[in-house]
């Protein structure tokens, strides 16, 4: 059962120590933190993370973002330490998330950002971590979402994904005029809780547009498909570096999932 879902982008610059002296987009970092706090508010039994990766596969629940893969200060702490068990949310010790970051396996960057955001929030409960390939067909993404939603445990869903990285001449992928319409449609679908429209996003076009969020968004759609109603709040939407970022919380506000599955 999905208790709550959150959509966050996955740029490495969310990691504060990677941006140098300038905090660069503190508002984006704050929006992600707020969204994850919302996700954890009702103490889910587990958090499922899905983000773009080289393959569609599960990863160890104690995995971490490999910050050093992006460089950063040699002397810097390689990862945010998992906080001590001093907050109520952290009261349940979990051997799956050891306190020593170096002992945790490295995740692909997409789901790694999800683990990082959970670390930053001090979350120490169960984690199910999935990477989803850009080659994963819509049906596979949808089924993964449905499977996560079908668990007996109350599960919160943290989806990591970005819109097109081709939104302007300075963008990582330069400019592709199709990016604007693609991102507008994805954003509209999220705001409207229109999971059908998310499932309609075309994998080939998404790949062309360097929209890495497509497969994970369709995992989200698969998980929420059949919810009677969704309460959506967008905390951040922008493309300051030519990549479309969207932070949103999606709360099933009815009695939960209906029995209908697509």
């Amino acid at each position: 059962m999905i208790t709550s879902a959150v959509l966050c982008p996955g740029p490495p610059l969310l990691v504060r120590e990677l941006t140098g002296a300038d905090p660069v987009l503190p508002e984006l970092r704050e929006a992600c933190a707020d969204a994850v706090a919302t996700l954890l508010r009702d103490r889910p039994g587990a958090v499922a993370v899905a983000g773009p990766g080289p393959v569609t596969a599960p990863w160890p629940g104690n995995g971490r973002l490999n910050v050093s893969a992006f460089g950063g200060q040699p002397a810097a702490v390689p990862d945010a330490a998992v906080p001590d068990a001093t907050t109520p949310d952290a009261a349940v010790p979990d051997a799956a998330v050891p306190d020593n970051p170096a002992a945790r396996p490295a995740l692909p960057p997409g789901p790694g950002i999800g683990a990082y955001l959970l670390d930053q929030a001090g979350y120490r409960g169960e984690r199910l971590i999935w990477s989803v390939s850009a080659d994963e067909p819509v049906a596979g993404c949808r089924k993964l979402g449905a499977d996560l939603a079908g668990r007996d445990t109350s599960t919160a869903l943290l989806i990591i994904g970005d819109g097109s990285a081709r939104r302007g001449p300075r963008a990582p992928g330069h400019f592709d005029e199709r990016a604007v319409a693609f991102d507008a449609e994805a954003q509209r679908a999220v705001r409207a809780g229109d999971v059908r429209a998310l499932l309609d996003l075309d994998p080939g076009l998404a790949r062309d547009l360097m929209a890495t969020g497509r497969p994970a968004w369709q995992v989200l759609a698969g998980a929420l498909e059949g919810c009677t109603s969704l309460s959506v709040e967008v905390l951040y939407a922008g493309d300051p570096f030519g990549v479309a970022y969207l932070v949103a919380t999606l709360q099933p506000s009815g009695t939960g999932r209906s029995a209908i599955r697509g």
């Binding site: 740029p11 490495p12 610059l13 002296a21 040699p74 002397a75 300051p240 990549v243």
Partner: protein, 294 residues
């Protein structure tokens, strides 16, 4: 070589600087005849304007000198005091926190300068006046222990030879540092300086640069004074006004090897070079990193 000693915090004036912090010392000459600026700040107004400019460009320390290094018209103690001390007082008034160094080998000048507010005595001629350390000790000031070989102040090197130039530099600067400590100078306020060009030909200054790590390994903070000097001019066959590139290249290498204070004419350019070196060494983050991370 013995095992290397770790660099410690450097204290100057009211400040304490960690080893990874690289400091720029801006040169302000109160002379009519210094080789690079040729009297540009001989006038007090021009000198104060230069102070404002180098502070604005990020100088951590000012080095005020009243006697050109090269041979020239004699400057006696009274004249050197007249040139430097009222100016030190004026700078101290304008900048209460700024570290002020005075470039002098004479203890009488050092004493008056400290009374006027100087924090550091730059003994560029390498311990010619044995009473200078006691003055630094008396006022709680710092002392730069430099190497000039056997040369008297304001003379040029003439067929100078060393069995091992770095060994001579270490012998002499460490002996001066030991004498200064014995005289009561706070060891955290003592620096050593190879004094490029002083008592050295170009080959020797290049070797000193190459081997600067041996000075750093002593644990004493190392100052380098490279700015537009003749060893750079001879290396590049460049007159004084075309030595900035060579100065900055040498600055980068000395910084990489662990020098901590850089005495310079061009403060802004030096700051940028040092910021690059600090970032490459991983001691300071880039101002802003977004490329590839968005």
């Amino acid at each position: 070589m013995t095992a290397s000693a770790a660099q410690q915090a450097l204290r100057l004036g009211r400040h304490s600087f960690v080893p990874a912090r690289r400091l720029v010392m801006g040169i302000v000459n109160r002379t009519p005849d210094s080789f690079y600026d040729r009297g540009a700040t001989w006038d007090t107004g021009a000198a104060m304007a230069r102070v404002h400019a180098v502070v604005d460009e990020g100088a951590d320390i000012l080095d005020i000198g009243g006697v050109a290094a090269a041979p020239g018209a004699p400057v006696d103690v009274a004249e050197e005091i007249r040139r430097t001390v009222p100016f030190v007082a004026a700078v101290r008034d304008a900048y209460p926190e700024l570290v002020i160094s005075v470039d002098t080998w004479r203890h009488e000048v050092g004493r008056e300068a400290c009374l006027a507010g100087a924090d550091l005595l730059n003994d560029t001629w390498g311990g010619q006046d044995p009473q200078l350390p006691a003055v630094a000790a008396e006022f709680g000031a710092g002392l730069i222990c430099a190497h000039a070989g056997d040369q008297a102040p304001r003379t040029r090197p003439f067929r100078v030879a060393y069995d091992d130039v770095m060994a001579d530099i270490l012998d002499r600067t460490l002996a001066q540092a030991a004498r200064a400590t014995a005289a009561g100078v706070d060891p955290a306020r003592i620096l050593i300086d190879a004094a490029h060009d002083f008592g050295k030909n170009t080959w020797q200054s290049l070797e000193v640069t190459r081997r600067l790590g041996e000075m750093v390994a002593t644990g004493w903070p190392v100052l380098v004074s490279l700015s537009n000097k003749d060893f750079i001019g001879e290396t590049l066959d460049a007159p004084p006004d075309r030595r900035l590139t060579g100065t900055l290249a040498t600055t980068a290498i000395c910084a990489w090897l662990g020098a901590r204070v850089f005495r310079v004419h061009q403060v802004r350019e030096t700051r940028e070079v040092l910021a690059m070196v600090s970032a490459i060494r991983g001691e300071r983050p880039p101002a802003r990193a977004v490329r590839g991370l968005a």
